[in-house]
Amino acid sequence: MEIVYLLIPLVLILAGVVIAALFWAVKADQFDDLEGPAHRILQDDDDRNPKTTEPRSTKNKH
């Protein structure tokens, strides 16, 4: 049973990592739009100006 004295601190560290990740995700607006990304893949972002050949800059507007 002494193993719990090792396992529990490990679990606590893991929990800390999870909470830190969650705080980061909330701060980084990861939960902002839970529907949009699913639709975005279907949207045509065709360039309206045929002269420019470079791919459109990725605009992460949030």
Binding site: V4, A15, L22, V26
Partner: protein, 848 residues
């Protein structure tokens, strides 16, 4: 008032080459010429917003801010933190965007409140603000968190009111959609974090709890038991102090205000459970309930988070209306042929300004088109999806969308004077008012809490005295399981969702009681002209009386009418075609007819009596009889010698009128037609619609008497009119419905306005109203039944604390989810925004 006025380009003062906004530090846009005078020097500003704020700061003698500040405000136009609650909001230039001046010094503002977590908060704020001297009215909508505040500026400045809100632990901001979004976003994020912490730590505590429970049965070494208990304690502490903070804060606020709020029982329950466990841990004897504590917090927070999302959806449609006004406008100045463009805040526009609206832009103010031809989407006002063509001389309304090509317009009303603003105010009034039903539910909820607390104490004492260890979990379950919030939520969420849904279809609800009365109406009274009929005459028949052919007669008649706005003139112009000759020397004899000269000959157009008087010739009696039957309109054209032609007109029935009447009768309502018109015409319309009870030739006073008579007999009367006539009868009816396009919004005092001008939408409104009332009743009944069952069950020990938390959250959610059924087909705020963006906001590439 020293509103900053954009002036001709000025060289930026002091650091000459500076190309940054003096206030917010953003780079100045090209050709920017906004300035504000700070410390006696004109400073460059990036936008009118910054200019207004900077000018206000300077005018208040707080110019030191710019010397002392160490950081620039983030995002423009930002108000520095120390001024946020301060006097800057008293400044007229700052108030311009959100305050409306009423008579004298009375002002009305839309505010948004931060920190509202339960219906009791609304109550507390309202009570607290109402007792301030000078505050005339406060109404807060729980669903949208918006407040409508009316105060006497001579007795109390706005800043004092805002400070008073802060003093009791909330924050109030002037309502602006961006800020509202920000407040909501911040609240959502903090809830999400609290929920996450409660979830992750809760899992750890649960794991330990399983070990402890298993140990209680199978034996566990005391060493490990103590270790697990202390560990649970350590893990529960952050959940209690961080995640559960909102509950404790709200409870403390309630206690200080000496009232029983929704969070008080929750906070007590948490304290009790945690306190009991702590005692057990310290003494090494008794049960611990750490798992219950974390479970509670997690479930309650989860419930609240879902509720927040649902409420946001319920109010999205109503909010959508407000967000339609663009922030900026392009004003044209200088020479009319080669005007100069400048970007100004839409709120800074004034009457008679000239404004350019590019395709894809929203119209920033009400006005008249002076140049250009385009089509405009007025869906937000009328629910009508089809774009309407607009050309010079046509009226356009703020918030509608210009689609095809550029338009120039002259402003007739801007800012708070637009029809959109009037509409928003009406809708806001409906949403912030508390209908009788909601007030009763609120009172019941407060009384209920007052009962729960002492009964919990009694029950706990009883169980304790029997020597049972269960007294603690039972007391906790009783405190948590009761859910008075469900009672308080029942009505406002349903009303907000319904009003938003209707607004999207072009039916504006302006009174909170309107939907309830509409659903309960027993008698529906219609006006005829403009309500059941289109209110627009149509030529039905042309009868020639002389040698001239009908088409020629029509052109002559149209010419005599000239540019008149009389309904007959419009009907004639509609059919006369393009080549109408010009008439001059037009003489109008009001109520009878007109005369005008066309190529040296005088023509007369008017009633048979007018023609007889003018020409000395009459039309034969039976012919007149035949033409004039059915109460149709009749006009005769004559030259100096003899009558030339007779025209008959009628006012066509609205296509959807018979269906609406049939539908209402199907719902068991008595339908009446009361009109001031000729009885024959009234009979014809009544027959066409299938209305049995009708009366013609009624004066407004007669209609009023009829409404009152019905009401004395116990009827609930709904009256449908054109909103302008019959004001008295409309006001007397339980619920009044006005048909209205555009201008009617500001004039009508109706409870419900049919902006779409379609009777079919009234049918839909009826349907929604009935559904709303049904849902409200369901909600109240379910909340009452839930509480009535849950409390005794908890007192008898049948409800485990975690089940209590689940039950409470579920009952709130059930009520909100039920109300959400009223929102309608699609989640509006995303789909609609994206649709609009995709359709219109792809600007054409600049014509370089």
């Amino acid at each position: 008032m020293s509103a900053p006025t954009p002036t001709a380009p000025l060289a930026p003062a002091i650091d000459g080459a500076s190309r940054e906004c003096f206030h917010c530090g953003l780079p100045l846009p090209e050709r920017s010429h906004f300035t504000a005078t700070v410390d006696g020097e004109p400073r460059p500003m990036c936008c009118p917003g910054c200019a207004a704020v900077a000018q206000a700061i300077s005018d208040l003698g707080l110019g030191d801010y710019y010397r002392l500040r160490t950081a620039r405000p983030a995002g423009a136009p930002a108000v520095p933190e120390f001024l946020r609650e301060a006097r800057v909001y008293d400044h007229p230039a700052v108030q311009q965007s959100f305050v409306r001046r009423l008579d004298g010094e009375v002002r009305e503002a839309a505010l948004i409140l931060e920190g509202i977590v339960c219906a009791a908060c609304v109550w507390l704020n309202e009570r607290h603000l109402r007792q301030l001297p000078g505050v005339l009215a406060v109404d807060i909508n729980y669903t949208t968190r918006r407040a409508r505040l009316r105060w006497d500026d001579a007795r109390i400045p706005l800043s004092r009111i805002l400070a008073a809100v802060q003093a009791i632990g909330y924050r109030a901001y002037p309502y602006d959609p961006a800020r509202a979004q920000e407040v909501l976003e911040r609240e959502r994020k903090s809830q999400l974090r609290r929920l996450g912490v409660a979830g992750v730590l809760g899992m750890q505590v649960m794991t330990l709890a399983v070990a402890l429970y298993a140990g209680a049965d199978g034996g566990i070494e005391a060493e490990y038991k103590t270790f697990f208990q202390w560990l649970s304690l350590a893990l529960t502490l952050p959940v209690l102090t961080y995640s559960a903070q909102p509950f404790f804060r709200a409870a403390w606020r309630d206690l200080r205000a000496r009232q029983t709020g929704m969070d008080l029982p929750v906070a007590l329950g948490l304290t009790l459970a945690f306190g009991g466990s702590l005692w057990a841990t310290l003494h090494g004897a008794g049960e611990v309930y750490y798992d219950s504590v974390v479970m509670f917090v997690f479930l309650l927070l989860g419930g609240r988070y879902l509720e927040l999302m649902a409420r946001r959806r319920a109010s999205a449609a109503a909010e959508g209306l407000v967000n339609r006004l663009p922030a900026l406008a392009t004003r044209l100045t200088g020479d009319a042929r080669a005007p100069r463009e400048e970007r100004v805040a839409a709120s800074a526009l004034a009457a008679d300004d000239r404004v350019l609206i590019r395709p894809g832009e929203q119209i920033p103010a009400d006005g008249t088109v002076t140049d250009g031809r385009s089509s405009v989407d007025e869906a937000l006002m009328t629910g009508e999806g089809r774009p309407l063509p607009k050309a010079t001389g046509d009226r356009v309304i703020a918030g509608s969308l210009n689609i095809e090509s550029p338009l120039q317009m002259r402003v007739t009303g801007a800012g708070q004077d637009t029809q959109l603003a009037a509409m928003v105010r009406l809708l806001e009034r409906a949403l912030t008012e508390k209908p009788a039903l909601a007030r009763a539910a609120d009172r019941a909820a407060h009384a209920f809490i007052a009962v729960v607390l002492p009964s919990t104490a009694l029950v706990a004492a009883y169980w304790w005295q029997t020597g049972s260890e269960l007294w603690l979990p039972i007391a906790v379950a009783m405190l948590v399981v009761t859910c008075p919030c469900a009672l308080s939520l029942a009505t406002p969420t349903a009303l907000t969702a319904a009003a938003g849904n209707l607004a999207r279809r072009g039916v504006l609800v302006t009174r909170a009681n309107a939907l309830e009365h509409l659903a309960r109406a027993t008698h529906v009274i219609f006006d005829k002209t403009g309500t059941l009929t289109e209110g627009r005459l149509r030529l039905t028949h042309t009868e020639t009386l002389d040698a001239l052919d009908a088409a020629h007669c029509l052109r002559l008649a149209a010419a005599v009418e000239g540019a008149s706005e009389h309904p007959i003139a419009r009907a004639l112009r509609d059919v006369a075609g393009g080549d109408v000759p010009a008439a001059h020397a037009i003489v109008n004899t009001p109520g009878l007819g007109l005369s005008g000269r066309i190529t040296d000959r005088t023509y007369y157009l008017g009633s048979p009596a007018f023609i007889a008087a003018a020409t000395g010739r009459t039309i034969s009696g039976d012919r007149l009889e035949r033409l004039g039957r059915d109460g149709q309109g009749l006009a005769v054209l004559a030259d100096g010698r003899a009558p030339l032609a007779a025209f008959t007109f009628d006012d066509p029935l609205r296509a959807d009128a018979p269906a609406l009447v049939a539908g209402l009768r199907g719902l068991g309502k008595s339908v009446l037609l009361l009109s001031g018109d000729h009885p024959a015409a009234v009979r014809r319309v009544a027959a066409a619609c299938g209305i049995v009870a009708y009366r013609g030739e009624l004066k407004p006073a007669d209609k009023l008497a009829r409404v009152q008579q019905l009401q004395r007999d116990g009827a609930v009367v709904a009256m449908v009119g054109d909103g302008v006539n019959d004001a008295a009868a409309l006001a007397a009816a339980h619920v009044s419905i006005a048909m209205g396009r555009g201008a009617a919004v500001t004039a009508a005092a109706a409870d419900l306005i049919l902006l779409s001008d379609k009777l079919a939408d009234l049918g839909a409104a009826w349907h929604t109203a009935r559904k709303t009332l049904r849902i409200i009743r369901q909600n109240i009944a379910r909340a009452a039944v839930y509480n009535a069952v849950a409390l005794p069950a908890a007192a008898l020990g049948y409800v485990a604390p975690w089940l209590a938390a689940l039950g409470m959250s579920a009952s709130s959610l059930m009520v909100v989810a039920n109300a959400l059924r009223l929102v309608g087909r699609r989640p509006p705020w995303r789909a609609e925004v994206r649709e609009t963006q995709e359709r219109f906001f792809r600007r054409p590439p600049p014509a370089a």
